[in-house]
């Protein structure tokens, strides 16, 4: 009964989405207030029914209803209830439902919080969000219904993939999806603007907090994914340039470019059509990512299922959405003219460079991700593009990006006026370089060119970011949210750079064969396999090792990596032992029994790796602080210096 209610709720949600998009768009086109009102109300209806469907599926999991195919395939009666709930989005059908729930949630939030928008514009935004919902609901109902019954019912479920039985499953997908899907708001704002053919700085001010919110979730989602991969599936790697990682990273790059370009559009009325193109692209890339992941054209740990019908559906949907948006853009964007000038070293130029480098990075990653598909489709052979390609081509735009970031933050709008900060910036650069060389030599015992460049850039960006709030504080001025957020986010970029440089330059990884009592030494740390024993969890048995780590004879810690065998069958799982430290992680993972009492182990020394995720969180925090800036909450008052166009916005 419950699954049928869920199924019915999905159908209802589809109907509400249809009402929402029809009345939203047609009402705006015909200027009918009642129609537009109906479109708005449908948003709530859609959200309620998607939430009911979601709750029904969660309930089926919690009640162990193995007569539902999706539940039987992805859970097991021994699976702890915590994971049974998270298993809702552990595979294809349920994660689409989560997608739909996120979309309905964003739509509801936009509807509730956008009363300051012009009625027509708001109605168009709601209509466009409805169109996207229709696509996803249809996709679910026609090819991926999570409520399909299994006849006869299974006595026992097959179990959730053990790789996913981890705390991170409960938070990584929802947060990532909130980010992915959140770009639909900027997309809808962009399309609505194109429909109206008019863009003023108020538009940018409305779009900014929504884009920042989506981008913030995506940032945290990607960081969580990286952290999860590090301790659970990656044998200690933190980024693999896996197609699915790229699929989340490309919208992030587009979104990052967008939030910068939006700033220029808001403050100076420039880059209008470019900003719109980015708004369209960010969500299009999210959809492309969904297509790549869900259609099964790509091989990756995330690609749940391969079903040609699904692939075709998403491809068609993708074509309609992206093609439609780009056609609209090509038709309407030329009407959006901006003709304010700016000098070469003005802030606008730096944002332009920021966008150019981010988009270049995006294109290079897109090329590497899609090329194997292209080769395969043309029957030119089966190829894959290895991580070295991505590592190399990503550096090319990133080094100048970071270099200019440190200067660009201090540039003023319109005019080249860097003279006042020049000497201080030179000082930071020199100090950064000196610290990079000295600390590199002192801590890691050698000076490597790439590491020195990376550390210098990291310190340069961090130092330069701190300059702004410090100068304001020293002058006794308040630091507005937007400025503080910007400084924190950019400081976070420096912290991420520090982490990546440290771990990529000085990590040590070694596979060793140890018997109980043996010691292996890496990076000056002695790893001694002290004991092996059997352990038991709620739904698995395991072999557990005690790996005692010491340095210069002083014991530091004991790691307890496990090799697990889940009762539901399948392959063994590796549970790494990790000691977290401010300067480095120490990592040990159990391989297998090699015979003669010896086990294979992977031992790793990962300097500064924590700073990658810490920096990502700082970036997100900065985005959050900037998004909460007071001026976004003031509906009508225009900030000083803003174009008067903003004043025509009425409540």
């Amino acid at each position: 009964m419950i699954p049928e209610i869920g199924h019915f709720a999905l159908v209802m949600a589809l109907l509400f989405a249809m009402v929402q998009s029809f009345f939203g768009l047609a009402g705006a086109a015909r200027g009918q207030a009642a129609w537009m009102g109906a479109g708005r109300s449908a948003v709530t209806g859609q959200f309620v029914f998607v939430a009911i469907a979601f709750a029904a599926l969660a309930w089926s999991f919690i009640q162990k209803d193995f007569s539902v195919l999706y539940v039987a395939t992805n859970s097991n009666s021994e699976l702890p209830v915590f994971f049974r709930f998270a298993a809702v989005w552990g595979a294809h059908e349920g994660s689409l439902l989560l997608w739909a729930l996120c979309l309905a949630g964003w739509s509801l939030a936009v509807t509730a919080l956008s009363s300051s928008l012009q009625v027509r514009f708001r109605s168009r935004v709601i209509g466009i969000l409805g169109l996207i919902s229709i696509g996803f609901m249809l996709f679910m109902l026609t090819t991926s219904n999570p409520f399909d019954r299994l006849v006869p019912a299974a006595l026992e479920g097959k179990d959730l993939n053990p790789l996913l039985q981890d705390f991170a499953l409960t938070i990584h997908p929802p947060i990532l999806y909130l980010g992915y899907v959140g770009f639909s708001v900027a997309f809808a704002f962009g399309c609505a603007t194109l429909l109206e053919g008019r863009l003023d700085s108020a538009w940018a001010r409305w779009t900014r907090p929504w884009t920042l919110a989506a981008w913030l979730f995506l940032t945290v989602g990607i960081a969580l994914g990286s952290w999860w991969a590090y301790y659970e599936l990656g044998w200690g790697g933190w980024w693999f340039w896996d197609p699915v990682e790229n699929a989340s990273f490309m919208p992030w790059l587009a979104g990052t470019a967008l939030i910068h370009s939006l700033a220029v559009t808001e403050k100076r009325g420039l880059f209008k059509s470019w900003t719109l193109l980015l708004a369209v692209s960010a969500f299009s890339l999210s959809l492309l990512g969904t297509f790549l992941v869900r259609s099964g054209v790509l091989v990756s740990v995330h690609a749940f299922a391969t079903d040609p019908a699904r692939g075709l559906f998403i491809l068609a949907f993708l074509t309609v959405v992206i093609g439609g948006a780009l056609a609209l853009y090509a038709w309407r964007a030329p009407q959006l003219k901006s003709n304010a000038g700016f000098e070469l070293a003005a802030r606008e130029s730096f944002v332009l460079f920021n966008n150019a480098f981010l988009v270049a990075a995006l294109c290079l990653i897109l090329l590497g991700t899609l090329y194997p598909l292209f080769m395969d489709a043309m029957e030119l052979g089966k190829v894959s593009v290895g991580p070295p390609y991505f590592n190399m081509v990503f550096l090319v735009p990133m080094v100048p990006l970071l270099l200019l970031l440190g200067i660009g933050m201090h540039a003023v709008w319109k005019k080249s006026r860097l003279q006042p900060v020049r000497s201080r910036l030179l000082g930071i650069a020199a100090a950064g370089f000196a610290i990079a060389v000295i600390a590199g030599a002192a801590v890691y015992g050698e000076i490597r060119p790439m590491a020195t460049i990376g550390f210098t850039l990291a310190l340069w960006v961090m130092g330069s970011s701190l300059m702004i709030p410090l100068a304001r504080l020293r002058a006794g001025q308040a630091v507005p949210g937007a400025v503080l957020g910007m400084a924190i986010a950019h400081f976070g970029v420096g912290v991420v750079t520090l982490g990546i440089t440290g771990v990529q330059s000085f990590k040590i990884e070694e596979d060793v064969a140890l018997a109980v009592g043996d010691t292996a030494t890496i990076g000056g740390y002695d790893f001694r396999l002290a004991a092996l024993r059997d352990a038991r969890g709620p739904n698995y048995v395991a072999v557990e090792a005690d790996v005692v780590i010491s340095k210069d004879g002083a014991e530091i810690t004991t790691l307890r990596p496990q090799k697990r065998l889940y009762n539901s069958g399948g392959n063994p799982m590796t549970e790494a032992g990790i000691q977290v430290g401010p300067g480095r992680d120490l990592f040990a993972a159990l391989g297998e029994d090699l015979g003669q009492g010896r086990w294979s182990l992977r031992l790793q020394y990962k300097p500064l790796i924590r700073y990658i995720w810490l920096g990502a969180l700082l970036i997100a925090l900065g985005g959050g602080i900037a998004g909460l800036d007071r001026r976004y909450r003031r509906a009508t008052a225009a900030a000083p210096g803003l174009e008067r166009a903003a004043a025509e916005v009425t409540r």
């Binding site: 391969t306 590497g368 190399m392 081509v393 090319v396 596979d511 003669q596």
Partner: protein, 146 residues
Amino acid sequence: MTPRRKRMLAVLAVVSGVGAAAILASFAFEENLLYFYSPTQVHAGEAPDGRTFRVGGLVTSGSVQRAEGSLEVRFVVTDNLESVPVRYTGLLPDLFREGQGIIAHGRLTESGDFIADEVLAKHDENYMPPEVAATLHTPAPARTTQ
């Protein structure tokens, strides 16, 4: 600078930047494109000498041999027509086992052994890498993913 010269300068900078990036990317691309060959193709001499590539197939039952207590392992991958012996030193993935579809990354020696520096067996136990699935000569027993 006049606005015109400034614009020319900007265009020049962008063009040279894009050009440099494109050249670099194409080099990086050429270096890092990894082709996949089935054991049959390897036997037919299609695989490159002295360059890394990927080979994949099923791990032949009973072929996994390990020097006791050491990290060295040998096994044979097959597409059910031809097979290639593989040598590898290190940790095998959790999902590696006989009968499983795997992909190995490495290079061919003159003796015809494949020295792998990485062995991949991703996803779950029901999963078959598509390259392997496409090149198997006798279809593997029907395995369903959901």
